[in-house]
């Protein structure tokens, strides 16, 4: 038993090292000069070079990509959450003929990978004049995020006890009033879970953005970073490339650290179905 515990601890520590060491190494390298990076992967910087971050942010254009990402993520969420919540409320509380089928069609979107529709989608956006536009990308993001959002929020609305609604209706509240005054506040935890989970997913989204929005001025952070490093292959300033990588991961880390319990919940909820 002793030996087994010891082996377990060693294995667990190894696992943690595999996660943490690369991240710490990237962080340390982001503060080194290029000659220091090439001298040894293990060395510490003689003097932390914070200028790498300024170079990545300004000269490499990360600032622009960052704001593009903020814009498209926040914009998509601002449309997605209300639209998704409204539909979910109907699915949870207003059954009608065919509503089960419609709900199933919505959930079906979780089952197939989004890139399968890239060719027709590109054509559609071109005809609507929405290619190479953050608005077009945002609309597509809303469409592709609805499945998971509707799934999670329908569950939340279903879990709200019906007595409250009934009392409100007796008091003369209309449909809209019940939704706004009673259901929305009660479903708040669900709205937060949906916003965090979708927010992370959209912040990181790569496939759709690569095909639908790849011109220099509207690149999002993942596309910008991929381009940056592929173009910089033969350039010298490696420290700032590492700094760019840290800048990209930082917001995700902050959100993860603050909300990880909710992220776990959302992932498990999605997994049970998906």
């Amino acid at each position: 038993m002793k030996a087994r515990q010891w082996i377990g601890t060693v294995a667990l520590t190894a696992y943690l090292a595999v996660i943490v060491v690369p991240l710490v190494w990237v962080l340390i390298s982001s503060l080194k000069t290029s000659p220091e990076i090439f001298a040894s992967p293990w060395s510490l910087p003689a003097k932390p070079k914070f200028e790498n971050y300024a170079a990545a942010w300004n000269e490499a254009g990360l600032a622009k990509y960052f704001w593009n990402s903020v814009l498209v993520t926040v914009g998509s969420l601002a449309a997605l959450i209300p639209i998704g919540a409204m539909a979910s409320y109907i699915f949870a509380r207003y059954p009608f003929r065919g509503s089960k089928l419609l709900y199933a069609i919505f959930l079906g979107g979780m089952m197939f990978p989004n890139f399968l529709v890239l060719a027709p989608l590109t054509d559609l956006l071109r005809r609507l004049g929405l290619t190479e536009s953050l608005v077009g990308l945002g609309i597509v993001y809303v469409a592709f995020s609805l499945s998971f959002t509707v799934f999670v929020l329908t569950g939340f609305f279903q879990s709200v006890p019906t007595e409250l609604e009934e009392a409100a209706v007796l008091d003369g509240c209309g449909h809209l009033m019940v939704y706004r005054k009673i259901m929305l506040p009660l479903a708040r935890p669900g709205l937060i879970v949906a916003a965090i989970f979708n927010g992370l997913g959209l912040w990181n989204e790569f496939n759709l953005a690569l095909v639908l929005a790849n011109s220099e001025s509207i690149r999002t952070l993942p596309i910008g970073l991929a381009n940056l490093t592929m173009a910089r292959q033969y350039q010298a300033d490696w420290g700032s490339v590492f700094a760019a990588l840290v800048i990209v991961m930082l917001p995700a880390f902050v959100v993860y650290w603050r909300y990880r319990e909710r992220i776990y919940e959302a992932m498990l909820a999605g997994a049970v179905k998906g």
Partner: protein, 297 residues
């Protein structure tokens, strides 16, 4: 007690934004990709020509298609075995008290929530022939990893992609199996302990069979998410060397973005769609009857 006044109008008003956007930007393109797969069409030009099954015939004679399908399948099997085996093991190891375990549970999903581009770069940098941390370690162990470098070496490139994918995905499987282990009731654990079943024996005959529905979820998840490996391939190897890491999505991307072959790309998408549907149904059929239902708390 149901408020029927204006009910239908309310339903319509609340449902239509979601239905409209979902139908136009997801369902419609999906249906269209089936139609497009039967046309010769290069995106930009207006003229498209109906060619029936020609795209499919060409596809089935396209060695790169088969190569990318095979690579995707291999990755699915290799990454599947690795994530499920390590996921079960680590779910056991991270369970319980103590600072190390708590820290592990706080951190393990982080590789999953960062951008795949970041994951690709973390590994590309670690595997860089000149300054990479992992390259340095492997070189000290005597492996010839410096020239031309791991991601450019046909012997190692595929493994590099697989390792990066597992690093990214593993946390989810630990989470999943941890939840599965918690569902196994204390009574069963006690009963099997009384029967003298513990350690490997208990795992083999009690725990592993009881993780039935978790295994189904894990495999379904892999089937869907293996395709996200595209971002890793795109950044780390661009499908090379010599198509050695070409996956089905990177090939699809090439057909759209580089060659503008929308019809051919749609045929490719339809085949992938079919294959993944069949695979999902096979998983569902295999796991349909849960022989252990009722044994969980």
């Amino acid at each position: 007690m149901r408020n029927t006044k204006g009910r239908n109008a309310f339903i319509f008003a609340f449902l239509s934004p979601a239905v409209l956007i979902y139908a136009v930007f997801l369902v419609w393109p999906l249906l269209q990709s089936f139609q497009m797969s039967m046309y010769r069409w290069r995106g930009v030009s207006r003229n498209r020509k109906f060619i029936g099954a020609e795209n499919f015939n060409n596809l089935f004679q396209d060695p790169v298609f088969w190569k990318s399908l095979q690579n995707t399948g291999t990755l699915l099997v290799v990454a599947g075995i690795a994530t499920i085996a390590l996921g079960v093991l680590l779910a056991h190891l991270t369970d319980g008290d103590g600072a190390v375990r708590k820290f592990a549970r706080a951190i393990y999903l982080f590789p999953q929530v960062i951008s795949l581009v970041a994951v690709a770069l973390i590994w590309q940098f670690q595997l860089n022939p000149k300054y990479g941390l992992v390259t340095d370690m492997l070189f000290r162990l005597g492996l010839p990893v410096r020239d031309p470098g791991i991601v450019r070496d046909p012997r190692y490139a595929f493994s590099a992609i697989a390792v990066a994918f597992v690093w990214h995905a593993l946390g989810f499987f630990v989470l999943l199996f941890s939840a599965g282990l918690k569902q196994i009731s204390g009574e069963i654990k006690e009963a099997s302990a009384l029967d003298g079943s513990e350690g490997w024996h208990r795992f083999r005959h009690v725990t592993w069979p009881l993780l039935w529905s978790v295994k189904r979820t894990a495999i379904t998840y892999l089937l869907i998410h293996i395709l996200t490996v595209f971002a890793l391939v795109f950044v780390m190897t661009e499908g090379g060397p010599d198509r050695g890491t070409e996956t089905i999505v990177s090939y699809l991307y090439e057909q759209i973005a580089k060659n503008g072959q929308y019809g051919y790309a749609s045929a490719l998408a339809v085949v992938v769609f079919g294959v993944s549907m069949v695979a999902s149904l096979a998983v569902l059929a295999y796991f349909r009857k849960d022989p252990t239902a009722g044994a969980r708390a």
